[in-house]
Symmetry: D4
Subunit: 178 residues, 8 copies
Amino acid sequence: MKEHGSNILVTRCSEEMAQGILETCPEAHYNQLGRTVTVVQSELKTTEDYIAIVAAGTSDLPVVEEAYETARLLGNSVKKITDVGVAGIHRLFANLDDIQNAKVIIVVAGMEGALASVVGGLVKKPIIAVPTSVGYGANLGGIAALLSMLNSCASGVSVVNIDNGFGAAYNASMINQL
Amino acid sequence: MKEHGSNILVTRCSEEMAQGILETCPEAHYNQLGRTVTVVQSELKTTEDYIAIVAAGTSDLPVVEEAYETARLLGNSVKKITDVGVAGIHRLFANLDDIQNAKVIIVVAGMEGALASVVGGLVKKPIIAVPTSVGYGANLGGIAALLSMLNSCASGVSVVNIDNGFGAAYNASMINQL
Amino acid sequence: MKEHGSNILVTRCSEEMAQGILETCPEAHYNQLGRTVTVVQSELKTTEDYIAIVAAGTSDLPVVEEAYETARLLGNSVKKITDVGVAGIHRLFANLDDIQNAKVIIVVAGMEGALASVVGGLVKKPIIAVPTSVGYGANLGGIAALLSMLNSCASGVSVVNIDNGFGAAYNASMINQL
Amino acid sequence: MKEHGSNILVTRCSEEMAQGILETCPEAHYNQLGRTVTVVQSELKTTEDYIAIVAAGTSDLPVVEEAYETARLLGNSVKKITDVGVAGIHRLFANLDDIQNAKVIIVVAGMEGALASVVGGLVKKPIIAVPTSVGYGANLGGIAALLSMLNSCASGVSVVNIDNGFGAAYNASMINQL
Amino acid sequence: MKEHGSNILVTRCSEEMAQGILETCPEAHYNQLGRTVTVVQSELKTTEDYIAIVAAGTSDLPVVEEAYETARLLGNSVKKITDVGVAGIHRLFANLDDIQNAKVIIVVAGMEGALASVVGGLVKKPIIAVPTSVGYGANLGGIAALLSMLNSCASGVSVVNIDNGFGAAYNASMINQL
Amino acid sequence: MKEHGSNILVTRCSEEMAQGILETCPEAHYNQLGRTVTVVQSELKTTEDYIAIVAAGTSDLPVVEEAYETARLLGNSVKKITDVGVAGIHRLFANLDDIQNAKVIIVVAGMEGALASVVGGLVKKPIIAVPTSVGYGANLGGIAALLSMLNSCASGVSVVNIDNGFGAAYNASMINQL
Amino acid sequence: MKEHGSNILVTRCSEEMAQGILETCPEAHYNQLGRTVTVVQSELKTTEDYIAIVAAGTSDLPVVEEAYETARLLGNSVKKITDVGVAGIHRLFANLDDIQNAKVIIVVAGMEGALASVVGGLVKKPIIAVPTSVGYGANLGGIAALLSMLNSCASGVSVVNIDNGFGAAYNASMINQL
Amino acid sequence: MKEHGSNILVTRCSEEMAQGILETCPEAHYNQLGRTVTVVQSELKTTEDYIAIVAAGTSDLPVVEEAYETARLLGNSVKKITDVGVAGIHRLFANLDDIQNAKVIIVVAGMEGALASVVGGLVKKPIIAVPTSVGYGANLGGIAALLSMLNSCASGVSVVNIDNGFGAAYNASMINQL
């Protein structure tokens, strides 16, 4: 791929794999938290409209970073708005303008995934919800958040697979660049 | 039971059963929406502190009414605050004082059950959450809301069985009368 | 609502409920297959771009119709492309131009829900997938199609609840009118 | 947090993490069984009323200790009554006075979780039940105990997530300090 | 079968089926609650040892009766000990002698099925546990009681299918007649 | 326990734990396959009647050995009849006499657990079935065999938890010694 | 379809639908048990090789008949061998020649579905297993039999959806006519 | 086995086990990807007809290789057609002749398993579908692909257990050699 000069994204990349890539390709960028490696060979576009990535807690950051790196490599402007879970809803309200002005919103949340419904109730923009596997016990590896998001009482929410930051960003990018 | 002069509560009472009771006991009160029959033979107590019953949507009202009738028969003051689901979160904020001033709060919600987490984040009072079977498809007869409430990111939430308005009110009554 | 002069949409409307509405409001339109009633009081917009609703089989038509009525009432141009399930994939290819030229695509499919992945592999447009409860046995009331769509190997697919034609159309409308 | 002089609680803390904290903060207390680290900087309150933590078997002790440390740090008097599972019900009866005199009761049990129902039948106090993941096979990682507690035939039982000793203690503390 | 002169048992027999049988065979006995029809053509044996059928609540009586009719037709002495659920455990203790003196015990319980563990902890006799489908919501049609019984902390409990009073009695009869 | 001179059984004992026990107690016997340690201090009884342990395949042997050590320590005569799974049913028939002459039978089987039904159809003795976690994929950690055994078309089968060789032997011992 | 002169098969046909078809098309044949309607307009082929349909109990006959009608209409010779469930395994052995001489075998079984494994162990022919929804409780609407068949210890078994007699026959027909 | 001179197949063979076999039996062949060891002592047959193994992605190759080694050792000609998942459906069409000319087809796919339905719609040959555990989150260890294949809208598809390449090849071999 590198020889074609195109930009490259590797997701779900372990520390070990990343080191291997960096050795043969030192200009690659490794996002340890997001477990992504990106190689930018042709300058990235930056759209006028932007994607907002809204996330509940610090444990959700790996998925946020995967979505961020994907969305950036696909040429989008992105704003990350993190640590705005519903247990401290005032932080969400403090960031509402940045969320409302996005063209499309990615909501990343684990545990009960309530953030997707709350954002969906506040903002009339397309929302791609990503349940994460953050939690334990009756969380069932992210199934609780997944079911929660699928049953959202807010109408503008669609859902991708658990921890699928890539898929959410790919979707959001298509919408952002319409 | 009637002969002992004690107050009586029948829950999950069908239209037909209720009519049968009313025929032999005309002073009974039938709450059609809550599917309860109550017979008050000794005057009900009314506590100074009150229980708040907070509910998401109109489809959740049968469970609200079951909880209300139970809590009243057990001698509690009760405030009902309904139709404050997270899809229209401003209505919840408009009622926040009444919720915060309760001694204990019952939250009734179906679909994704996000209301429990949002109230739990806003109010530092014990919350008994009741998932309802309102919803369809991936709601799985209330399992989605149940899992959501068990995984609530807000710390003060405990949960009873799906549609168990009686159990929530019985719990809340014990706490309200401590 | 009628008195405000706004357009009205009722979903999941039984035959009996529909007759009741039609008696008091004869200008209402009842879509029996989609179980919707619509009342158009201010002329509907018709967007230049259109939403494509792509469906697998005749059993999926109730969800198609719910999505169609919703999308139309929200002012969108809509093309329905039905009976193009993967068991007869040539019919899908025969309609590929109409699908590719849409701004956003709703895919409705029950049983194994494979249609979402196939369309997602062929077309680079945002896809909202709606699993339906069509099937029996190991279909688990639509869970098989739901899981299938969430695990789609095609990247541009996001998913709404089982049989949620309304939600899919609401999402698609927001995207179509960006 | 330490600089604010407030008391600190870290839960689900691995051996390694605990050692790291103890090195920089030698006055911290590490509860190895409960996997908690606590730093007490302002003297702990001790309520007149107490919380009883009742547990079935020795495998449930990590959750007991997490609940204990949480309840203590929040300023509550606590009595631990352990190894009183229903397989040896006489031990439960021998401790009944201590359980009945508590203001609120936390019941911790794995396997089939029957202890919550038995205590609920014996004592008319609010009970917070914590299912644990103790068990194997059809225990499904604590789901068996969770379902058991949600379906308790005793009326005063509400439930938190599997292994959630922290949440149970947080709830119980709010009730104990009403 | 009738012509062979053997005794006959029909289980899961609807009202209508029962009436049909009674018309052609007036000496048949219809147990409406247990939904069984029995035809006794050769005198029933009555063992010296007896099977105890222990049940939690009145909703479990149909399964109790199915087990009773089966055990009797197979020639066993049977004692029924009902309404001794763990929510009122003193009633169980009041009947402990009758339970302990049985050769084998059938425990019938729905909801959380805790009765099997409690009896198993008190009595050192083989116990066949029958979960019933009594309950709602997170009971999952009896699955909660089934899992509870399979995970019993008492060692002498084995389990049959939900509502399978016949199978429990057939098992108990083989043991009782060893 | 050792000081009381009673016989001791440790189940689910790791290699490491076993070595620790053997060092302080050299007369202990470690069954590596069954993961049990036994210490025999008073001579074991040997009943005239025997328990048959019938098992499907070699992967089920750890559970067979756990059941065997338990039954022996409880003073029973035991016959092991292994590798008689239904895929080679002639081996089962070759051992039918030994199975039929037992007083009670333990059937140990993983994968689809069909052996319990086949033995139940051939032999009129009480059968305790133990599903094992042997298998992969749709086996779901032994749930497939568990459900299979609970739904057995043969009437004399009751079931214990997945891999619970101890519980099956404890049950069988009570029956064998009636 | 009728006008093209081809043979017609309608499956899952209710009594009412069947009567409607018979009125307009009196030469149609309605198989009430199998819920199929067939219209034979060009003479059916009859292969030299035959498909054996082997079934456990009388409750499985609707699926047997659906498979039979399908296989016949597709031009196959078919032998039905019913009521040979593993609870009475001698009846299966009495029919073994007819099973072994088939070119391909359909096994229809509900409850625990053990018949597929037993036949698979006895006969070296391709086996299409059809789980049926016959059963109750932990049968989960046929899921128990489905999992059992997917985990069969016999190697030659593949599986179709619950109650899918049509699919099994369609598969078997393709194999029988190779 | 080796002494009987027959051909030998070991599946699910770890690196370590394989090395052990190779040391004592150097003529053995270890397929690392497929985790199989084969020892060919009598020359393999090669049928005129062939089995096609069709697979979606590179992650499915271990199952492909297990199926391939099994089918070859059983004496079949085999064609492998890999990397033809539905996300790039043109590659599937490019290989359609090779698929259509096979006597029987094995389809190997993970994630949503849509490939089985697409091939089943295109080719009128018996198809054995193997779901793989490739995927994450709502894939549930291969259950999503399994359910998808069981609910295939294409009629000629039967299914084996998740990752069961051996079973699929054993089935296909029996059909290929009819």
